[in-house]
């Protein structure tokens, strides 16, 4: 075989291979890539029974590559395999000038391109504050806390507004493998046991699922823009590593009695919360009272204060106190 040119796709044996598939290192052509890429996601959806016919599904759309490809694949597979799903795009507008504008444009393009209804929920609409206003108040430090906490809720609230049955997100295999490793490094056995589930929050009002659980980030990039010049070297030695990490995460012998943080409901807004008030309500209260540092960092005292201040009859929070430090929502899809 000649070097460089003349390589034939190892799947169809006809066309010229256009890329080395990150997951298997097979040399395949563009058409075959799309076929295997979409078929794999279809298999994941079918094997895990992610959806039932007639369900309303919101696609969390940020405008980035993962969610854009997710929107494309979901609408394509829904059409091709007759899932019978009602698909919606759901975006969050944090109100950051110059940041979301572009990506919201992308989402709006997706709306037209794939014919999916789009719902944009904005921070100002949900919380009465845009991120710009928050940053003006609290400065450049710690504002990620607000953005992260608010966004997590915003997706759920938007999904509730759309009256959907499930929310799908574009978390990919790389994200999940990273979470597995992070949870090992952090010593969080409880999250380690659930971070590989393809559906989370099944007992909650709106379960979330991740059809890209076994899909490599690079392949999503390929599918999105078909850029070949990306560095491939990382996984060249061992393309299976990411899948193996996920497999390990699934196979870990974690006893079912591993204690999970208890989930209650926020007394103010009704969102799931391990505390009297959910994190968003605490942060919001701080903003509205002009005490923006409330609920930031590990200062349990301050947070305990607000919870007890507003709930004089609150139970002593002995048991739940320890859990307060586990607010890192970003590691837990």
């Amino acid at each position: 075989m000649e070097k460089g040119k003349g390589r034939v796709c190892s799947l169809c044996n006809e066309k010229r291979a256009a890329l080395k598939r990150p997951k298997t290192l097979e040399q395949i052509c563009r058409e075959c890539f799309y076929t295997v890429f979409e078929d794999e996601i279809h298999r994941v959806i079918v094997d895990n029974q992610l959806f039932k016919p007639g369900e309303r599904i919101a696609i969390g759309a940020s405008g980035g590559k993962d969610s854009t490809v997710l929107a494309y694949v979901m609408s394509e597979l829904n059409r091709r395999h007759n899932y019978g799903l009602d698909l919606f795009l759901l975006s969050v507008d944090e109100g950051i000038t110059g940041y979301r504008d572009d990506s919201l444009e992308t989402v709006k393009r997706n709306e037209i391109q794939y014919g999916l209804p789009l719902k944009v929920v904005s921070y100002s609409e949900l919380y009465g504050w845009t991120m710009d206003e928050i940053v003006k108040l609290i400065g450049l430090k710690n504002n990620c806390t607000f953005c992260g906490v608010f966004r997590r809720q915003a997706l759920d609230r938007g999904a509730a507004l759309l009256k959907v049955d499930k929310l799908v997100t574009g978390h990919n295999a790389d994200d999940i493998a990273e979470t597995v490793l992070l949870n090992i490094l952090r010593g969080d056995i409880a999250r380690l046991s659930r971070c590989t589930s393809i559906i989370t929050g099944e007992d909650g009002p709106i379960p979330r699922c991740k059809p890209f659980k076994y899909t490599y980030e690079k392949e999503i990039s390929f599918c999105g823009c078909f850029v070949l010049d990306k560095q491939l070297s990382n996984h060249d030695d061992r393309p299976r590593a990411i899948l193996d990490i996920i497999k390990s995460g699934e196979d870990f012998r974690i006893s079912t009695s591993t204690k999970m943080p208890e989930q209650g409901i926020c007394e103010r807004c009704g969102y799931i919360s391990s505390q009297k008030w959910c994190k968003a309500c605490v942060l919001l209260e701080g903003l509205n009272r002009g005490l923006p540092k409330l609920g930031i960092g590990r200062s349990r005292g301050v947070r305990g204060e607000i919870n007890s201040e507003h709930n004089a009859n609150m139970k002593p929070a002995n048991g739940t106190k320890n859990l307060q430090s586990k607010q890192c929502g970003s590691l837990d899809f």
């Binding site: 056995i189 299976r240 193996d244 974690i254």
Partner: protein, 471 residues
Amino acid sequence: MACQSGCYKDSSIGPEDSPLVTKKNEAPNDVVDDRRSTQHLDNGICFKCKVNRTIAAANGVGDFNGGDNGRFCADCFRSNLFGKFRLSVTANAMISPSDNVLVAFSGGTCSRVALQFTHEMQSKAQKNYEASRDRALPVFGVGVAFIDEKAISAVSSDDLDRAIEEMKFIVSDLAPPVKQFHVVPTEAIYSLKAGDAKDRLNELINAVSDVTGKEDLLEHFRMLALQKIALENGYTKVLLGTCTSRIACHVLEATVKGRGYSLAADIQYVDARWKIPVVLPLRDCPIHELNMLCRLDSLMTVEVFNGTHAGINGLISSFVKLLQEENPSRESTIMRTAGKLTPFHFNKMPEDNDYNGQVASRRRQKKYNLKTKDALPPESFCPICNSPLKISTFGTSINSDNRKTSSNAIGAACCASCQFQVLPKDPSSLEHFISLLPPPVSQAEYGDRLSQRQLREQIEDCLLSDNEDGT
């Protein structure tokens, strides 16, 4: 000698107890005293005995590891480390008086400390034995094993011979009681003539194309060789110097290799899936503490085969090293996280151990009961690496009758990780590869699980039916 107050079991390893310490150029306390005058720090006092200078202060260096050298004096540090060793030995019933313990010795820090501590424990038992009236409790025996990997490693035989001489010296210096030193080449896992065995081993190793797979297979062979030495020489326990840092690396390595299920088996204090149970008494000791002890006590170590890893293993060890620099307790966090995974039923000392019947020895055991479920499904093991297999992945293919080809059967019998990184992909070379494998040593006497030998025979039947050329 030892610090005066509240020290952790100081009497057990005071320098006068330990014959080896006498060989040192400078006794530990001299180290402290010599340097005291040069020290200006006021707070450099051991936080345990509150008398002596901390190691860091005594050496006039900062607390560079953020760890024990800034907190302990040399004596307290030593007794603390030995305390961890002894706790894991007693709590897990690792060594009973009638045992004959084989210490795996590579020449490196971890196994050097393991050997030293085992020796100290033995000499203390010896002292107790001589002092006791009835002499009811025998003293456990200790042997030392070095696995010579010359056949598969690029080490000149001169260097190796010198290293072995040094190790011999180390071991002989530890007597009494006399410890036998076994030097056994890896190829001894084959019961063949030396030359044939060596060729066979080389052929097998060269057939593995994946660097990581090669390394893992060799590590497995090391264990096989240790088991063989133990079996042939009447040892009842194999003691490894696996430390916290090594386990932390193994946790991540196993995770990345997709061995999440079997991981819990490898990282416990006791691993009795082997014919001779394997114990890991240094599980709670991080490498920097072991290094420190070697430095303090001038324990001689010998570097034979360079410990650098390749492939995934190398990647992980540099990654963990980096993490450790950023957070000194990262390794133990990793180990404790993985420690919460449910262990297997073979991760405790076998109950039907003959010696447990003796009242005298039972009296001494403080067993912490490992929580394992009673009604455990029989375990089956990968024929290549001996890691337990998940029933769901295993049962489906082996128990069903549609074993059409031999490679199917082998593929089904091995763990996914070995399938990928050890077994050749091409069916004909696969058959040849299987024929080169050494005989298994790993018949742990547990329950009614699927016999590994049976499994092998099944496979080999298939092999012969497909391929006339058996070997």
